[in-house]
Symmetry: C2
Subunit: 330 residues, 2 copies
């Protein structure tokens, strides 16, 4: 928000001074000049230019962003999984049975191989034990508390500092041009809402994600939203267009992802008539972040790479297209 305000002040100032309005401050300063950046700028110009053939009314300027691997890192494991494992440790004293019961035993031992071997069933069990049973307020507080102390194993920085500066600029740039920016994540909606406003300028009502069921009840006479150990909705793959339709009720004009989990979201967005932008962040930067795609169990990008060309999707090279990877703390 601050950056956007500064930008508009700068532009207003330069207009008032009779200087060229554009050029002094580059809203996409962390993007190297090149085809990727040019394509983004051209899309925004085409969709916002009054009277242009690809003009999109402000009410329809909807841009959807995946989160894990698109707005922040996702290696060596989804940050929410790191939270779940840390929470198993925090809750372990109340669950002595976890010492011998999988997948909790593996989580407590940091034995990722056994944890992975527990499969989807094991992961769901882990999530339910660490994400349900409390109220929504209590859960949000647990996430906030965790984020204050947890550190990423490779970078030794808070997870919340590992957001991508070029993508944050892109969010700001789109909003400055009248787009509403939504996050559409395979991760948990209530986990992400804790961070989305501060990190990305995206308010809670513009965060869509996977969810567990909740119920409304009086606890000690006070109304509360209580989190239940039951899957409500998986906002991944073909679930992403479903989530978008449910929450927004409109088809986006721009979609940003990084894995095959975003394939259907990009397909849904870009197969409608008119100017559309589909963008895939390709993690090919082992030095500054990670390099992975077709063979990675996390953030697998295979079909997307194969089909990006014929579908007109822009594949962004983290290594070549980004001047900077991580943003400074906000």
């Amino acid at each position: 928000m601050l950056k956007r305000l500064l930008l508009s002040l700068t532009l207003a100032g330069s207009i008032a001074a009779g200087a060229p309005a554009i050029g002094e401050t580059d809203p996409l300063a962390s993007w190297n000049d090149g085809a990727a950046k040019a394509r983004i700028v051209a899309f925004v110009k085409a969709t916002t230019e009054k009277g242009g053939k690809d003009h999109v009314a402000p009410a329809d300027r909807i841009a959807v962003f995946d989160n894990d691997g698109t707005l922040w890192s996702e290696q060596p494991m989804y940050f929410q999984l790191a939270f779940a494992i840390d929470r198993v440790r925090a809750l372990a004293p109340q669950h002595p049975e976890w010492k011998t019961k999988q997948p909790f035993k593996a989580a407590l031992a940091g034995d990722m191989k056994t944890l992975a071997a527990s499969g989807e069933h094991g992961l769901v069990e882990l999530i339910m034990a660490t994400h349900a049973g409390n109220t929504a307020d209590e859960f949000a507080q647990a996430v906030r508390d965790w984020a204050k102390t947890a550190r990423h194993p490779k970078f030794n920085r808070p997870y919340t500092e590992l957001t991508f500066k070029p993508m944050r600029e892109l969010l700001d740039y789109l909003r400055a041009n009248g787009f509403r920016t939504y996050i559409v994540s395979g991760g948990g909606i209530e986990f992400l809402r804790v961070f989305a406003e501060e990190l990305y300028g995206v308010p809670p009502e513009q965060v869509i994600g996977s969810s567990i069921k909740t119920k409304y009840e009086l606890r000690d006479g006070k109304p509360a939203i209580v989190r239940l150990p039951e899957i409500d909705f998986i906002d991944d793959r073909a679930g992403k267009p479903v989530g978008i339709h449910k929450f927004i009720g409109k088809r986006p004009v721009a979609a940003f992802g990084n894995s095959d989990g975003d394939f259907e979201m990009l397909e849904w967005t870009t197969s409608a008539p008119g100017a559309r932008l589909g963008l895939i962040v390709h993690h090919d930067d082992e030095v500054r972040e990670y390099a992975y795609d077709r063979k990675s169990p996390i953030g697998k990008l295979d079909r997307g790479l194969d089909e990006a060309g014929r579908r007109g999707w822009l594949v962004v090279s983290m290594k070549n297209d980004w001047r900077t990877v991580y943003a400074p703390p906000r």
Copy 2:
């Protein structure tokens, strides 16, 4: 939107002319002067006055409105049920078995008594047969087509003309004061989204309602959202706070309803600290609309009437507090 624009122009004009900013144009002109109107105005002043003890930041100014019976009429049956019955008639040629099968036989005959006797199971069957199986776009078109020709049995006007003028003014008034207005309806989200923007100035992403499941699939190579004959979410009673939490992720500061189906939404909204407004529209106007409350199967208002006093909820008398009931076509 037009009204809001005109209002702001009027205010701007009167400020420029040095005249008092308030008073010339009453944004709540369809409300009789009295305690109800004064309470609404006082709430808006308290929550928007800078530096006031009850000031609410613009991002938190969230107001939630029930639809049936609160924003438009709901007698002698929910308008969506009228749509479902008309749609049974429209689809009947493709379903010869409906001639002898309940609840379809009753719907075709207009036999409301037998239809009601088919109970919740019968109604769900009716809704699934008339609301599922097609794509989201096809469904929206069917609703639009229906609204063009269907007429309300008592007033012989299109259903879409039976919105409440005082409530539309209230929506505009709140928005002019920085509130975001949401509809939180027990009715179907996709049914309501067809009308919400035009009738109430509420965009699709601010409509929350009951839903059936959908799936994303390619139909003849084109992506589509397909509606499935399975309940996804019932946005009524204790489901309303759940829906609000899921879609908005914040607790509202004002809630507007008319029946006990809105009780938990009002409770959730008004039991938080700070200035809160809970309002119940009481249908006591047999001449201009309908009179019903404790004993009505549709829009039953019983517990709400009993508890409004001690909970500080404002009960609005349609007969005494509203100068006008229906708005002219927009």
